[in-house]
Amino acid sequence: MQNKIAINKLNVFFGKEQALKDISFDVKNNEILTVIGPANSGKSTLLLAINRMIDRVSNAKVYGEIVIDGEQVSGIRDVENLRRKIGMVYAMPIPLPMSIRDNILFGARMKRMLKKKEENEMVESTLRASFLWDEVKDRLDSSGMKLSGGQQQRLCISRTLAVKPDVIMFDEPCSGLDPISTAKVEDAMKELKRDHAIILVTNNTKQAARVGDRTAFLLMGELVEIDDTNKIFTAPSRKKTEEYITGKFG
C-alpha cells in the first residue's frame, strides 16, 4: 500500500508546553489507522497539525515535517484546498442549524456554485456512503438538528464527504453515541477506506481493535508504539502499551 501521509519528527508546542514530541509515522492509502491513548496525550493536536487547523490556535508552534502526496503541509499556500483534501469529523456531532440538504452541501458550496442536479446526486451519494440515506431520504428539507445523535454524526460524515477528501480524520466520533449508532459509524468507516485513507482517534480501545488496520499508541505526547492492530492487541512490544490496552491505566 502506498503512503498517503508521512510525518517526520513532528513537534508541537502550545506556548511553552510541548504537546507532541518527535512523532514520526506514515498513513497509507486504504487503511484505517487508529490512534489510541489517554486524554491529553496529543491525539487531537496531531489531527489539528495535519490539516493545519492548528493555524487558528494563536500560541501554537509546529516543527518537523508533515508530507501529504509528496507535498510539505507547512509550505502549502492554499490551505483551504488542503482542508478539503483532509476531511475532519469532530467528537460531538455539529450539525449546523439548517436543513439536512443544506448541511451536506455547506462545504461543497463554499468551493463553487453547484447545479441542482449535481446537488441532488451529491446529497444522495454522500448519505448512502454514511448509511443514512434510507433513514432521511423523505425529509431532506427538515432541520439537521432534529436528527438523533447517531444520525447527526453520520450527517457530519456525509457533509465531510461532500467536499471529496482523500483522507478522513475522525476525532473520537463515537464518544457520545450508543452501541448501535457506533456500529453504524464503524460500518461506514470500513466502507470508506476503499477510497480513502482514514485516521481514527479514539478513547475506546475496543473500537480500535474492531476497525483499525494499524494502531498507534500515544502517551503524553510521545508515540510509544505503532504496529498492526492485531499485534498491538495481542503482543505489544512495549510494556506501557500492554498496560494501557489491558486497562491498567488510562
Binding site: 487547523m53 484546498n81 455539529i94 463554499m110
Partner: protein, 263 residues
C-alpha cells in the same frame, strides 16, 4: 415587582403624551409645512428631516460598526491592541451627547465646511451610536458557538466564508438589535442635532440643507412656549414613529429567523 413598575412607568409616559397629543393630530398636521415657527401648520419638514438624518446616521454607523465588531471578534487575537480599542469604545459609549454635538459642530460644521446640515447632523449622530452598535454586534458574534467556525474552516472555508456563512447568519438578530437601539437613540436625540443640523423650519431639499428633527421641533415648541398643543402632538407622532420602527424591525427579524428554521 420591578418589571411591573417599569411597564407601568412606560405605559404612563406613553399614555400621558398620547392623550395630550392625539386630539391635535390631523392629516394636515402630518402633511403641511411648519408655519409661524410652529404655531400653525404641520410638521412635515420635521418628519422628513428626522427620517433623513436617521438614515444618514444609521447608513454610516451600521456598516462601520458591524465591520469593527467582525474585526474585533473574528480577525484579531485578544491582546493589548484589542483591549485598547475596546476601552476606547466603552469610553465613547459613556460620552454625553452634548459633547458629540460640540465635536460635530467643530469638525463637520466648521472645519469641513458642511455647515448646519442634515449631513453634519447625521455624521455626528453616527459617531454617537457607533459604540452601541459595535458592542452589541460583538456580543452577538461572540455568542455564536466556536464549533460552527471550526466546521466551516475544516470544510475548506476561507476566513471570510467562515464569517459570512457560519457566523453572521446566527449573529444577525443580535446585531439588528444593536442597530435598532441606534435608530432609537438618534431619533430621540436633541443636543447633537441642535448643534450640528440647526433648526430650520423649511423643507430640506438636499443633505446640505439645515433641518430640524421632530425632537428638536418639540423641544423648541415647548421651551419657547410657542404652542403646547403642537408640542404634545409632535411628541405623539415621535413616539408612534419609534414604535412603528421597533415593531417593523422586530417582526422582520422574526420572519428572518422563522425562514431559517424551515430552510
Amino acid at each position: 415587582m420591578s418589571t411591573t413598575s417599569a411597564v407601568c412607568a412606560l405605559v404612563f409616559v406613553i399614555g400621558f403624551v398620547l392623550a395630550g397629543g392625539f386630539s391635535h393630530i390631523s392629516w394636515g398636521f402630518l402633511t403641511e409645512p411648519i408655519l409661524d415657527m410652529g404655531r400653525e401648520g404641520g410638521i412635515l419638514p420635521a418628519i422628513v428631516g428626522t427620517l433623513l438624518m436617521v438614515m444618514v446616521a444609521v447608513g454610516i454607523a451600521a456598516p462601520l460598526g458591524i465591520a469593527s465588531a467582525i474585526y474585533l471578534s473574528e480577525y484579531t487575537v485578544e491582546g493589548k491592541l484589542t483591549q485598547a480599542i475596546r476601552f476606547g469604545i466603552n469610553c465613547l459609549a459613556g460620552v454625553p451627547s452634548i459633547i458629540f454635538g460640540l465635536f460635530g459642530f467643530i469638525l463637520f460644521v466648521v472645519m469641513l465646511g458642511f455647515g448646519w446640515s442634515i449631513l453634519s447632523g447625521g455624521l455626528s449622530l453616527a459617531a454617537m451610536i457607533l459604540p452601541t452598535i459595535i458592542r452589541t454586534a460583538e456580543e452577538a458574534l461572540r455568542s455564536v458557538p466556536s464549533s460552527y467556525r471550526d466546521v466551516a474552516a475544516s470544510l475548506g472555508g476561507t476566513r471570510w466564508q467562515v464569517v459570512t456563512r457560519s457566523v453572521l447568519p446566527y449573529a444577525l438578530p443580535g446585531i439588528l438589535t444593536g442597530v435598532i437601539l441606534g435608530i432609537g437613540r438618534s431619533i430621540e436625540e436633541t443636543a447633537v442635532v441642535i448643534f450640528t443640523a440647526g433648526s430650520a423650519v423649511q423643507m430640506p431639499t438636499s443633505l446640505f440643507d439645515s433641518a430640524r428633527t421632530m425632537s428638536v421641533h418639540f423641544y423648541i415648541l415647548a421651551r419657547e412656549g410657542i404652542s403646547n398643543d403642537n408640542a404634545y402632538a409632535t411628541a405623539a407622532v415621535l413616539i408612534c414613529t419609534i414604535l412603528v420602527i421597533n415593531i417593523t424591525a422586530y417582526s422582520l427579524m422574526h420572519r428572518l429567523m422563522r425562514g431559517r428554521k424551515t430552510a
